[in-house]
Symmetry: C2
Subunit: 222 residues, 2 copies
DNA sequence: CGCTCGGTTGACAACCGTCAAAGCGTGTGG
DNA sequence: CCACACGCTTTGACGGTTGTCAACCGAGCG
């Protein structure tokens, strides 16, 4: 089942126009359950999307069967506009009740032709995605497992954007983290306990942590 | 010395308007020597750029001293438009005589406001960069050294876009490839000899190769 | 001629992936 | 209410791959 069928059906509802919204009037919102597909690889690109609540993963499954997560999508993130005719990756909700806005692609493009301000907004959004992907390459480029996990935790702390010292929520499982960092689950788990034992972070439950020593976290190179 | 000083000085010359050019009239071309800086990390973003000839590397130097190459820039590639106020990475020419066109940033944005066609072109160019970066993430996500190097060779073969069976030129050194793939130089060298011994590729000199068995190259997973 | 730089090959140790097992929390069914 | 099963996480043991250190080769150049 294609994602597009989600929009315009009973699950969808017209979003109210809010100031600061890119395309409030066109947006249609859909809600997804944990693990549910938002769109599939090689499906036609009929919408642009924005995460409103929850979390999602963009990924592909290699020929060898390994799942590679290309990036995590958190509230405020736009996605789906890079692909031309078909999507290059699949996107799935990570949490129950993940909310995603969809914008019909053709109408957005048409609108942008007549509205320079909108055009700039779109360029700004795509630029933000490029910056995110470049940061991601730097994380993947790290050598040691502890360094990768540290960089990942810092990224999540920044993107969830709480006040410093606030607890950070990890919406995804260890498996997701492993497929994101190209590590095995076991190595991710070990790296987390290592960081905790060093007093760099404090795990509060399995999906929540607090940074105790930010400098040490940034300096973790192994 | 900032890159911007390159443009508008004696080294620069006004590019002729050619059909199909994005912004032929605004373009100013500069030539760089091997290893010369095109712009520095944290320098103000005054231009957008396009590689006309030669090759360049975009990179950053981590706190631990390791150089991470974010991507290689080949003829036809646009770059420098993702950063907002300052560049997040440095860019250096890899080859002597690398030619780069610069477009003044403010004037391009102003032009795009009035020209929907140009706006679409820019979105298309940024979308292409996103696709390139996502492909890059997949390469970095590979596990084995032979797999990474294989994927890299395939990427170079595609981007240089010769007819199948044609020899492919590698403009960059083994060190560049290593910093691109997050491997050591020695491992890159070993992976190349492994691929050659298996009859998958044929090295012709150190910076030139030919694909003998494309299927095997694509299937290299280790 | 001798230097440096880029590339290749070898030896060894460290790190990470794999296999295995056990703990833990949650939901379901008896 | 308890028993059980299942998914997720953690920890342990072991082997393979890769980074490090070292040596050598060849080309270009002063």
């Amino acid at each position: 089942m294609l994602a597009s069928s989600q929009f315009g059906t009973d699950q969808a509802s017209v979003a109210p126009r809010r100031p600061g919204d890119l395309l409030g009037g066109l947006a249609v919102t859909a809600r997804y359950a944990r693990g549910q597909e938002i769109y599939a690889q090689d499906s036609p690109t009929e919408h642009w999307y924005r995460v409103v609540g929850g979390a999602a993963r963009r990924f592909t499954v290699q020929t060898n069967g390994r799942r590679q997560i290309v990036d995590f999508l958190l509230p405020g993130d736009h996605f789906g506009f890079a692909s031309r005719a078909v999507h290059h990756f699949s996107v799935e909700a990570i949490l129950d009740g993940t909310l995603v806005e969809g914008y019909p692609r053709g109408r957005v493009e048409a609108l942008a032709d007549g509205d320079p301000h909108l055009g700039r907004d779109i360029r700004s959004v795509t630029a933000a995605e490029i910056v995110r992907l470049q940061a991601r390459i730097l994380i993947l480029g790290r050598i040691g497992s502890v360094g990768k996990v540290s960089a990942f935790l810092l990224e999540m702390a920044e993107r969830s954007a709480g006040r410093p010292g606030t607890a950070v929520i990890l919406p995804m499982s260890r498996y997701d983290i492993a497929d994101y960092l190209t590590l095995s689950v076991e190595t991710v788990s070990r790296a987390l306990t290592t960081l905790q034992q060093r007093g760099v972070i404090r795990l509060q439950g399995k999906r929540r942590f607090r940074i105790s020593d930010r400098d040490a976290l940034e300096d973790s190179d192994e």
